[in-house]
Symmetry: D2
Subunit: 151 residues, 4 copies
């Protein structure tokens, strides 16, 4: 997720979208990267029946996935190189119903090898955003050699 | 997720599977409930290309979803009534590659209205289980009226 | 930590300080409540040698305590009645050195019985604030009967 | 917190106690290291009035401190070198009353540079242990140069 210091905002967003598109799971989910820049990221997920739990809400795991991804992108934009999520915590504050989810993440602190990021997940229903979850996590930079699957 | 005190283990497992089957997202993911009883739960997820991130590992959001679900089932089996996940934290300790994921959750403490549960997520490759994530969360009992979607 | 809706800011702050003063541990630590209102709180801790770990930094447990307290006060100001901290997570981002710690907490979401709050802890050295930790937690309202110690 | 591979259990425990004794805050609190070995640690804290919050329970910050310390010692015994706590989360499950607290921590996973550890905190009253908190955190190895306070 290298971001050249002199890259234009459009180039940075396009680069982020390319990474997102490489994720089979994110294509499967239908996730969109709608903003991406130094220390922040916004992702959106149009909700479908396949995203629900038994009561018709978006599944907690869907919110957790979107939060995880937003935390990682916000951290990745602040660190130089490949990144992985080390850990995160999420609080669910309201059942998520509506047309789409929006996750917005910000970098709280970035060092050389790790960043702490925060994220809020909103459900949008009839154009109204309601906060559904808040997350905080640690994003770490990893050597390129670490991102090749091995035993 | 009511479990009658005198239900047989087979009945309890069948009841848990019925709840899981009601979740559109869990059907979409292909999740299986392989063990379920008072204060514990085991879930398995056969891995497909759709579950991967850009490096060929299972996506962190997939592990997070499975951990969330296992925490909730373990808590739900210990609390009397409908439950929701209030919050959770997850540490990723190793990239997940293999044929399937297994999440095993245990109840650490259960009161009248909430339970604290823990979970480990393993990737199984060639029959060998390797720990990939460890989670801890809070499961809360909710009134039936709260599980009907509303604005 | 009942806050009458029509209480003046001075009254609210005085009430918060009275609660803080009832805590033997907070007197022992030397903690000061410097701001307190609907959904927010600021606490300060003048650092002494007794607060250090083996490398001369403020002990992580000291930062954790101050974060916990700030999260609780911010949640308590938003909920009606006695409150307890249900859980929290904290990320340490920089060793804490200086004359004092400042913890600022804000309420992210408050329902009828619980609030999710966030906090940042800064070390102040030579008048310069540096972020040392970021926390997020859940504060729950408890019946008066629950706050009397019992077996 | 270097532990020579061939050190006797007594030597390892003595080394851990020496580190604990270097912590001004732990001396201030009165903490004792009662067990310490590869991947595990047990700490005890005799409770005094100075450890209480306003309802006579041990302050949450005291439990958090003890959990933090136990997580760090368990991680430090598994990693080679100086360690710091990167982050932790703690769930409070019961008010803590009694003569002492006991925190027992275990290493869940240790790599070369970081370990994930878990801890349970018990209050002991009349010889009976009751679980009061459960924690999980990340301990990271740091270069010696990082543990000298600097700006």
């Amino acid at each position: 997720m290298l971001i050249a210091p002199d890259a234009s905002p459009e180039t940075v967003l396009a680069r982020g979208r390319a990474v997102l598109h490489q994720q089979g799971f994110s294509r499967f989910m239908g996730t969109e990267l709608t903003a991406f820049g130094p220390g922040h990221a916004e992702l959106q997920l149009p909700l479908r029946a396949e995203h629900q739990q038994q009561h018709g809400f978006a599944h907690g795991g869907v919110l957790g996935y979107l939060a995880d991804l937003a935390l990682t992108f916000a951290g990745g934009s602040a660190l130089d190189g490949n990144v992985l999520t080390s850990e995160l915590k999420i609080n669910y504050v309201r059942p998520a119903v509506g047309e789409r989810l929006i996750a917005r993440a910000q970098c709280v602190h970035a060092g050389k090898t790790q960043a702490v990021t925060r994220c809020e997940v909103y459900a949008v229903s009839g154009g109204i955003e309601k906060l559904c979850a808040a997350a905080q996590g640690t994003i770490v930079r990893v050597p390129d050699s670490k991102v090749v699957p091995k035993d």
